[in-house]
C-alpha cells in the first residue's frame, strides 16, 4: 500500500538531513505504528507522504504508483483536531467532501450523517466544536479524515493531548473502527505502550536522521484489551523497544 524507496529530505537551512535514504513498506490493511523519540522526524515522514514536503531524493509509492500527480490517496489526521470554530461539527466533517466536489448536497449530508454515527457523535452534528469534549473532538477529526475516502490513513499522535483515561478509551475505539473498515493505518506515537496496543507491527526510528526503521511484529492477536498489554510477550517487546529508543537519545 505504501512504499518508501530510498527517500531523503533536508529542511532548507539545516546542516543535516532529517530523513536519509529511508525505505520501508506497509501492506494494505495493516495497522503500523511509527515510534521514535520526539523530534526525530516522524512527522516529517507524514508530511512527505501528504506532499506538504517534497523529498530531495527517492520515491514514495502509494498503491504501487508514485504519489506525484496522485490526489486523495491519503487521509491525514494531525496532532490537534483543527476543527474550524466557525463551522458546526457536521460542517467540519464534510470539509473533505466539499473540497473534492462532484457530490450533491444530499449525498454529502448522507455521508456526513453516516460518518457521525460511525464515530458515535449522532445528534452532535449541529453543535459547535467548542461544545465537544477532547475525546469527542478527536472522534470528529477522525470522521473528517475518513471522509477523505482514502484507503491510507495517517494519524499523527492524535491522542497525545487527551487525558489518560480518555486516551485508553480512544485507543480501543480506534481499533474497533479499524477492524470494521480495515483501512491501512500508519500511526505516529512516542508512546511505546500505545504502539504495542494498537498495531500489528511497530516501526522504530533508529535515531535521527531517520534512515532505517526497525520492524517489530507485535505478538498479540486482535481484539485486544488493556489486559493484553500485561502478557509476557507484550512486556518483552515493550522492554526491547524502550531499550532501543533509550540508546538513541543523546
Amino acid at each position: 500500500m505504501l512504499d518508501f524507496q530510498n527517500v531523503s529530505f533536508q529542511y532548507p537551512g539545516d546542516g543535516a538531513p532529517t530523513v536519509d535514504g529511508l525505505s520501508f513498506h506497509v501492506d494494505r490493511g495493516e495497522f503500523v505504528c511509527l515510534v521514535g523519540p520526539s523530534g526525530c522526524g516522524k512527522s516529517t515522514v507524514f508530511r512527505l507522504i501528504c506532499q506538504l514536503l517534497r523529498p530531495s531524493g527517492g520515491r514514495i509509492l502509494v498503491g504501487g504508483r508514485s504519489i506525484d500527480g496522485q490526489k486523495n490517496y491519503c487521509g491525514y489526521m494531525p496532532q490537534s483536531d483543527l476543527l474550524f470554530p466557525w463551522r458546526t461539527v457536521e460542517e467540519n466533517i464534510r470539509l473533505p467532501l466539499e473540497i473534492r466536489g462532484g457530490r450533491s448536497r444530499q449525498e454529502m449530508d448522507a455521508l456526513t450523517a453516516q460518518a457521525l454515527r460511525t464515530v458515535g457523535l449522532d445528534g452532535w452534528g449541529k453543535r459547535s466544536p467548542s461544545e465537544l469534549s477532547g475525546g469527542m473532538r478527536q472522534r470528529a477529526a477522525f470522521a473528517r479524515t475518513t471522509l477523505t475516502g482514502s484507503e491510507l490513513l495517517l494519524l499523527d499522535e492524535p491522542f497525545s493531548a487527551l487525558d489518560y483515561l480518555t486516551r485508553l478509551a480512544m485507543r480501543e475505539w480506534l481499533l474497533d473502527q479499524w477492524q470494521r473498515e480495515r483501512k491501512t493505518v500508519l500511526f505516529i506515537t512516542h508512546d511505546v505502550e500505545e504502539a504495542i496496543f494498537l498495531s500489528g507491527r511497530v516501526l522504530a526510528a533508529e535515531g535521527s536522521p531517520i534512515g532505517r526503521l526497525a520492524s517489530f511484529p507485535v505478538p498479540l492477536g486482535y481484539p485486544r484489551t488493556v489486559e493484553s498489554l500485561g502478557r509476557p510477550e507484550a512486556l518483552a517487546l515493550k522492554r526491547q523497544l524502550i531499550a532501543m529508543l533509550r540508546r538513541r537519545e543523546p
Partner: protein, 250 residues
C-alpha cells in the same frame, strides 16, 4: 441585558460626575463663549435641531459612508494582495505604515485646493485616516491563520481559492469587525476635519461657523451630534458582529 447594565454602571457614574464637574466649572466661569455648560449645549442642540438634523448631519454622514466604503475596499484589497503575494507585502507594508506619519490634517487644505469645496476633498481626508487600520488589522487577521489548518486543507486537495473561501475569509472576520470599530470613529473625525477646512455644509463646517460667531454652545452641539453618530454606528457594527461572529471567545 441586566449584567450589561451592571457592568456599565461605574462608567455611567464617572460620566455623570464629570458632567457635573463641567457644569459647575462652566457656571463658575460664567462665560458661555469660553466654556458653555452641558445644559447650555443641550439647549443649543435643541434650538438648532432644524439645520443640524436636516442639512448638516446628512452631509457629514454622506462623507462618512462614502469614505468608509472606499477605505474598506482599499484596506481589504491591500490586505488580500499582501497576503497573496510576499512581494506585494514587502513593497506595500512599509509604505502603508510610513503613510501614517503624514499629518493628514496639515495636508487637508491642499485637498481643498485640488478638489474644491465639494464632497471629495472631505472623502479623501476620511479615506487617508481610515484605510490604514482596516488594511493593517485585516492583514494581521490573514497572518493569524494557522498554518496547520491551511496544510490540512491542502491534504484534502484544496487550492488557493478554496483555502481563501473556507479558511481565510471566516478566520479574518473577527479582525474585520475590530477594524470597522476602529475605522468608524476615525472616519467621523476625518469627515469633520475635512469640513472644518472648507465646506458649505456638514457638522464640522457648522461647528466652525459657530466659532466665528463666538457661540460656544453652538460649537459643542454639532460635536455632540458627531460623537453620538459615531457611537451609534459602532454599536450597530458590534451588534452585527455578534450575529455573524458567533464563535469568538469560544
Amino acid at each position: 441585558m441586566k449584567p450589561n447594565t451592571k457592568a456599565n454602571l461605574p462608567a455611567a457614574i464617572l460620566l455623570f460626575a464629570l458632567l457635573m464637574l463641567w457644569q459647575a466649572g462652566a457656571m463658575g466661569i460664567g462665560a458661555a463663549y469660553i466654556l458653555p455648560s452641558p445644559v447650555q449645549v443641550l439647549r443649543r442642540l435643541w434650538e438648532l435641531r432644524g439645520p443640524l438634523f436636516t442639512a448638516h448631519l446628512p452631509a457629514t454622514m454622506e462623507v462618512v459612508f462614502i469614505g468608509l466604503a472606499i477605505s474598506v475596499a482599499l484596506g481589504v484589497g491591500l490586505a488580500v494582495l499582501m497576503d497573496a503575494s510576499p512581494v506585494a507585502e514587502k513593497a506595500l507594508y512599509p509604505l502603508i505604515v510610513a503613510s501614517q506619519t503624514i499629518p493628514t490634517t496639515a495636508l487637508a487644505p491642499l485637498f481643498v485646493l485640488w478638489f474644491g469645496y465639494g464632497i471629495w476633498s472631505k472623502v479623501l481626508v476620511t479615506v487617508l485616516m481610515t484605510f490604514f487600520p482596516v488594511a493593517i488589522t485585516v492583514f494581521d487577521g490573514f497572518r493569524s491563520v494557522r498554518t496547520e489548518m491551511e496544510e490540512l486543507l491542502v491534504t484534502f486537495g484544496a487550492g488557493r481559492r478554496e483555502i481563501f473561501c473556507k479558511l481565510k475569509l471566516p478566520a479574518v472576520l473577527p479582525y474585520f469587525f475590530s477594524a470597522m470599530k476602529m475605522a468608524i470613529p476615525l472616519s467621523v473625525i476625518g469627515a469633520a476635519i475635512g469640513e472644518w477646512l472648507g465646506a458649505q455644509s456638514g457638522l464640522g463646517y457648522f461647528s466652525r461657523r459657530m466659532m466665528t460667531q463666538l457661540d460656544g454652545a453652538g460649537v459643542f452641539a454639532p460635536i455632540l451630534l458627531l460623537s453620538a453618530a459615531a457611537m451609534l454606528l459602532v454599536a450597530v457594527t458590534a451588534a452585527v458582529e455578534r450575529r455573524v461572529v458567533t464563535w469568538r471567545n469560544k
